[in-house]
Symmetry: C2
Subunit: 214 residues, 2 copies
């Protein structure tokens, strides 16, 4: 099937949202934890985390100014801190449920049964059930003129993960950590490693360093 | 294991790159196709595609100004057009090999054996072997002050995908399309759907609309 620009513009809006949200391919599934100045917590599922750089470790999030994501946005702009927590299969229903439009005074932690954890002197809650979780400090924020979504850039200043997920070269075995992938607006996927590839060089054929996961 | 900010800053640079590139979770695996004004083609694997909006359909890419990605960047800034092509298991080695530092005058299509396809009046090549492929027109570009990476925003103006991957509600079954997920710098993963969840509402418990893929 071939869609041109006008075909896409002419689609019914929910159909178009489901289609276009699928086009980037698989996405990360993270819960973003924040708190307001009174300690009222908020949790929201997001699939827009993107690697920006390693030194310093920077991650960007695209946040929509809609009823669900704007609590997260206003909290992190005020406190300057937020957490990212990889979603696991055991509680994907609770993670997805954070997308519901709860009123500001209701915490998604309480509503979904997930547990708050706190690091010393870090004013945003992490998800205790998450095996990979990190704290970020806001470094840059802008509203994108093109469609008024917000680009939020943070530096990772706290990172917790299980030792047995960390390989010798520093890479993380996301499968043994139980991290999921997301597609479209609502599909959650487990993964199975096919191959790890060696660093690519122009004068050498591609070469796998590891095959399928055990 | 707990890493603080100073721990991360003190890591050996390749180790830190492998670690930090793993932190966002699973990522999309796309080949970005471009051509220069003489029709010299370029192909580069990228995992930074992120959904920005559906109406118009906008996708952002983070592009690094390094030797590999700058050919893509200069081509798409000059032509205003580029393609995104979902990577499949059958040719993931070729896709990964596009990350090698080939000289500008060598096309990664020729070097890796992937085939160029062209749409009428669209000056960037797609990958014939890709079942999901799209053409984008550049809408916005900025260098991010924080680390000099480039944020490139494009509008999807061409989209090709197999009819049997498109569900009735507009969402795409990425598994039946054969799209892969990427983690870290070098790991390629197939996926297995666990659940599709219904639209979340505050007054209703989470509910699956579909279970595991057949």
């Amino acid at each position: 099937m071939h869609f041109h620009r006008d075909d896409l513009a002419g689609l019914e809006s929910r159909y178009r949202a489901a289609l276009v949200n699928s086009l980037t391919g698989f996405k990360s599934a993270n819960l973003v934890g924040t708190a307001d100045e009174h300690g009222q917590t908020n949790l929201a599922i997001m699939s827009s985390a993107v690697h920006l750089g390693s030194h310093p470790p920077l991650i960007a999030l695209v946040i929509r100014p809609d009823p669900v994501e704007r609590h997260t946005l206003s909290n992190l702009l005020a406190s300057g801190c937020y957490t990212l927590n990889h979603v696991r299969a055991e509680w994907l229903e609770a993670a997805h449920q954070t997308a519901a439009r709860y009123p500001r005074e209701q915490s998604e932690f309480a509503a979904t049964g997930l547990s708050e954890g706190w690091w010393p002197e870090f004013p945003a809650p992490f998800v205790r059930e998450a095996t990979i979780r990190m704290g970020l400090r806001l470094r840059e924020h802008q509203e994108l003129a093109i469609n008024r979504t917000h680009l939020v850039i943070g530096e990772v200043t706290q990172l917790e993960l299980p030792e047995d997920c960390l390989r010798e070269d520093g890479s993380v075995d996301l499968e043994s950590a139980g991290s999921l992938a997301l597609s479209g607006l609502d599909s959650y996927h487990a993964t199975r490693r096919l191959r790890r590839m060696a660093y690519a060089k122009p004068d050498r054929p591609p070469r796998a360093v590891e095959g399928p996961a055990d």
